[in-house]
């Protein structure tokens, strides 16, 4: 077990380093001189040069990367070119909106998806299954901002249950703050839940055909007990995999959703930073998002080991981190299915 976890942690750390190099390199290639941007169009070449020296933009590439990456380690993301405040301060203000939003959305999509998957799988091919999966297909195909608009219309404009947008801040009281995050979270969660529900259904159907399900039935357990006790946990591995993959899409989704709901979150910050060529802010936030995705997937890797005891005891022959033949096939299939569903939905949009 420890060997497995250690390996996952090392891989996650290496991924992070690699990601930082890529992010830095991309930002270097992009056109636009931050110093000129800060000083405006009327600045002379000398003034720009002085500022460039001050900002350390003339130092060699490798040094600048090391400086930047070293700063990241101590949560020093540099200073915003446009706001002239440390990036970390901007992030700190915004993350208290975006992180709860993403987590609530993630939790919501799981809570919606698993029962849907179980319901459909246990009624495979019957009317209930067809209906639910039809609805899920719709959920996959419809973009989340459209959901957002419909939700605003229904719950904010018509029923007046929650605010249509904006964020009062956590100081206004937890309930008030949560209320304004509710609609965006639902809008984010619905398409994800639709995908996850489909994955859960097909994973369950596959598991329900396994021999050990028959063994459990032969013990005298009723179908329902077999489904919850034996099938669900085995179907969790592909579901967890997709959950980890989806988190990245959730974060990307917040950029649109935060704009629809006027939420002062990271998504809006990065959107503004891109339009203003505030590259250092973009770099910082992108790195943060990358780290979040890597962290979540590390947690997913850990949870594999909790769900599947075969991963806990790793004999020497396990090379990929999975016992030969079992997990990877399942996961690959799940990922493939996930991509197919996604691509189909993209095609429609």
């Amino acid at each position: 077990m420890t060997a497995y976890l250690l390996k996952r942690i090392i891989i996650a750390a290496l991924t992070l380093v690699l990601a930082s190099i890529v992010v830095f390199a991309v930002m270097e290639i992009l056109p636009g001189d931050p110093a000129r941007l800060m000083l405006g169009l009327n600045a002379s070449a000398d003034q720009v040069e002085v500022l460039r020296n001050q900002m350390g933009l003339n130092a060699p590439l490798v040094l600048r990367y090391l400086h930047w990456a070293g700063g990241l380690l101590s949560l020093d993301f540099g200073r915003s070119y446009t706001y002239s405040v440390p990036v970390i301060d901007l992030v700190r203000e915004r993350i208290v909106v975006s992180l709860p939003l993403a987590l609530i959305a993630l939790a919501l999509s799981t809570i919606i998806a698993i029962p849907i998957g179980v319901f459909s799988a246990s009624r495979q091919g019957r009317a209930g299954d067809t209906l639910v999966m039809g609805a899920a297909q719709l959920g996959v195909a419809v973009p989340n901002f459209w959901f957002a608009l419909m939700l605003i219309y229904l719950f904010a404009v018509w029923l007046r249950l929650v605010p249509a947008g904006g964020f009062p801040g956590w100081s206004a009281g937890i309930w008030t703050a949560l209320k304004s995050l509710l609609l965006p979270a639902v809008a984010l969660a619905l398409p994800q839940a639709a995908i996850l529900g489909r994955v859960a259904r097909s994973a369950l159907i596959e598991v329900l055909n396994e021999d050990y399900i028959r063994t459990a039935r032969a013990k005298g357990l009723p179908y329902r007990a077999v489904l919850w006790r034996h099938a669900l946990r085995n179907a969790m591995i592909p579901v967890l995999t997709i959950l980890g993959l989806q988190f990245a899409f959730l974060l990307a989704g917040t950029i649109i959703i935060e704009n629809v709901f006027y939420l002062p979150g990271l998504g809006r910050l990065i959107f503004q930073a891109i339009t203003q060529r505030d590259l250092i802010v973009v770099e910082g936030i992108v790195m943060l998002l990358v780290a979040a995705v890597i962290l979540i997937n590390l947690l997913v890797d850990f949870s594999y080991a909790i769900v599947d005891p075969r991963l806990r005891a790793i004999p020497g022959k396990v090379r990929s981190g999975f016992p030969s033949g079992i997990a990877p096939k399942q996961i690959l299939r799940a990922v493939q299915r996930f991509r197919e569903t996604r691509n189909r939905s993209r095609g429609r949009q």
């Binding site: 021999d211 063994t215 459990a216 032969a218 034996h230 085995n234 005891p309 004999p315 020497g316 022959k317």
Partner: protein, 540 residues
């Protein structure tokens, strides 16, 4: 009174009839053998008794267990019966247990469900039954997971689950088919003991006539969903009144004719294996000490001459498949050399192995798993042709495939079909066609007939013998089935824990085994003639 009475049972799935007028009774303490080839309806009969039939299955007739009308019972009644009064053991122990639950949980679960016992009580009972089936707690604590056990041990757990509540009837569907002969004998002994201890009725389902003969008081022979013959085991098999019974018995002991026997030492060896070993990295016990390697194959030497047929026999896990992989240059030995037609093949780059690969082909056990279902037969059988010096043009390729198909007894019209359109036996013919299309000198066959029914098996063995006679192909049969070795091999090598412990002429090794490992194999191997003779004595 009979424990189980099945009268005039008919079953259909959709519009396909599966069973037609099946009659079967089992008394307490009685062992009834249900014999038949795949598709004969054996398993469906068992699943009808458990009422675990697939969707769309419709059963008619009467099935009465202990006075309860099974076909008319409610689902709740059935749940109460299953696992309590009727237990069931399945064929494939590797997949019959839930991989994410401990064996303790899985055994105790049924006990708790039926008796409403507390967790501690149920675990205590689970401990007892696991001990009874030969998994004492000291060595196999309840906290073990299925993947930590071998196939034979897992099958014991499945039996423990089925017998935990002392059922009146145990249904065992091919309980030993996936196990090697030594494990098979152990599991059969266990089942026999459980029957006599609890006066349990046992319905033993198998395609292996010898196994059933050894175990059963009465036999029921099923074909295409109909009972062909039923009666006392000894009488049924000694008289063999029904032609199908005779056919089955003959096929089970079939030895293909090979008019030109192989003369040892007549030519220079085709394959030479010298001191070959293979280590696998072992499990690391500590972060700071290197892991002890596991020696799968240990200092093995053997030679195969042209047209010679050699059987490599041994229990599962003895290293025979690893050795075969190294001979096929699919795995690299950690020690020793392998020479094919005088040329060393060990440690050579892939590009120079082409001639060796062309002259050395393989037939696998599972004719289902070794074909890409989306490719046509023509492409599948032609696959090895890229190994030829000059790959043939399209027309020539079709010609060669047609010829190979004819050689294995298929028609050239089969070329444009897909693998799923063939039966298991035909698929094995396809894989043999694929193996011989490059005119190899050696074919390595890994358990080539163990997934096949007896009559099909006899045909495939005939085909192997014919190709050996006609084309002079040498064989290396990898098998745990001694009847294959007896039927096909000139020479037998017995492998045990990575080493070859005995070798010699086939008849000699199999009739007078000297090493302990060989003796254990021979003693455990079911033999139809021996079993019939024993039953004759018992049943008078």
């Amino acid at each position: 009174m009979n424990l189980l009475e099945i009268e005039n049972l008919s079953l259909s799935i959709g519009d396909t009839p599966i069973l037609k007028g099946v009659e079967l009774t089992i008394a307490p303490g009685e062992v009834v053998g249900l014999v038949g080839e795949s598709g004969s309806g054996k398993s469906m009969t068992a699943l009808t008794i458990m009422r675990l039939l697939p969707h769309l299955a419709r059963a008619e007739g009467r099935v009465a267990f202990d006075g309860i009308d099974i076909l008319g019972a409610s689902e709740d009644q059935m749940c109460a019966l299953r696992g309590d009064d009727i237990g069931m053991v399945f064929q494939e122990p590797m997949t019959a247990l839930n991989p994410v639950k401990t064996i303790g949980e899985q055994v105790a679960e049924g006990i708790r469900w039926h008796t409403k016992a507390s967790r501690a009580e149920a675990e205590e009972r689970a401990r007892k039954i696991l001990d009874r089936v030969g998994l004492p707690e000291a060595k196999f604590p309840l906290s073990r997971y299925p993947h930590e056990l071998s196939g034979g041990q897992r099958q014991r757990v499945v039996i423990a689950i089925a017998c935990a509540l002392k059922p009146k009837l145990l249904i065992a569907d091919e309980p030993t088919t996936a196990l090697d002969v030594v494990l098979q004998a152990q599991i059969l002994d266990l089942l026999r003991d459980l029957v006599s201890e609890n006066r349990m009725g046992l319905l033993l389902i198998s395609h292996d006539l010898a196994v059933v003969t050894e175990m059963a008081d009465r036999l029921i022979i099923l074909r295409n969903g109909e009972v062909m013959e039923a009666g006392d085991t000894a009488r049924t098999l000694s008289e063999q009144q029904h032609p199908y019974t005779r056919e089955l018995a003959l096929a089970s002991t079939h030895v293909p004719a090979r008019p030109k026997p192989h003369l040892a030492g007549s030519a220079k060896p085709l394959l030479e294996v010298e001191g070959v070993g293979r280590d696998y990295p072992g499990r690391r016990k500590s972060l700071f000490r290197p892991a002890q390697p596991i020696r799968a194959v240990d200092d093995v030497s053997l030679t195969i001459e042209p047209a010679q047929s050699v059987a490599l026999v041994g229990r599962s896990g003895c290293g025979k498949s690893t050795l075969a992989r190294m001979i096929l240059a699919l795995d690299k030995p950690t020690a020793g050399t392998i020479r094919f037609r005088g040329e060393p093949i060990t440690g050579k780059p892939e590009s120079t192995l082409k001639p060796a690969r062309r002259d050395m082909q393989v037939v696998f056990q599972d004719p289902y798993g070794s074909f890409d279902p989306r490719q046509k037969v023509e492409k599948l059988v032609a696959e090895p042709l890229h190994l030829l010096e000059k790959p043939p043009a399209k027309a020539e390729r079709r010609e060669m495939v047609a010829h190979a198909l004819q050689e294995v007894g298929l028609s050239q019209r089969d070329m444009d079909k897909y693998p799923h359109e063939f039966s298991g036996g035909q698929r094995q013919r396809l894989s043999i066609a694929r193996a011989i299309i490059t005119r190899p000198k050696l074919v390595v066959a890994d358990e080539p007939v163990s997934a096949l029914d007896v009559s099909i098996r006899a045909q495939i063995l005939d085909l192997f013998a014919e190709l050996n006679q006609k084309l002079g192909i040498a064989y290396l049969f990898i098998t745990h089935d001694l009847t294959v070795a007896r039927a096909m091999a000139d020479e037998v090598l017995v492998m045990h824990e990575g080493k070859i412990v005995e070798r010699g002429r086939a008849a000699e090794v199999l009739d007078h085994p000297r090493s302990e490992a060989a003796q254990a194999l021979v003693a455990a191997a079911p033999d139809l003639h021996r079993a019939i003779a024993r039953k004759m004595q018992e049943q008078g």
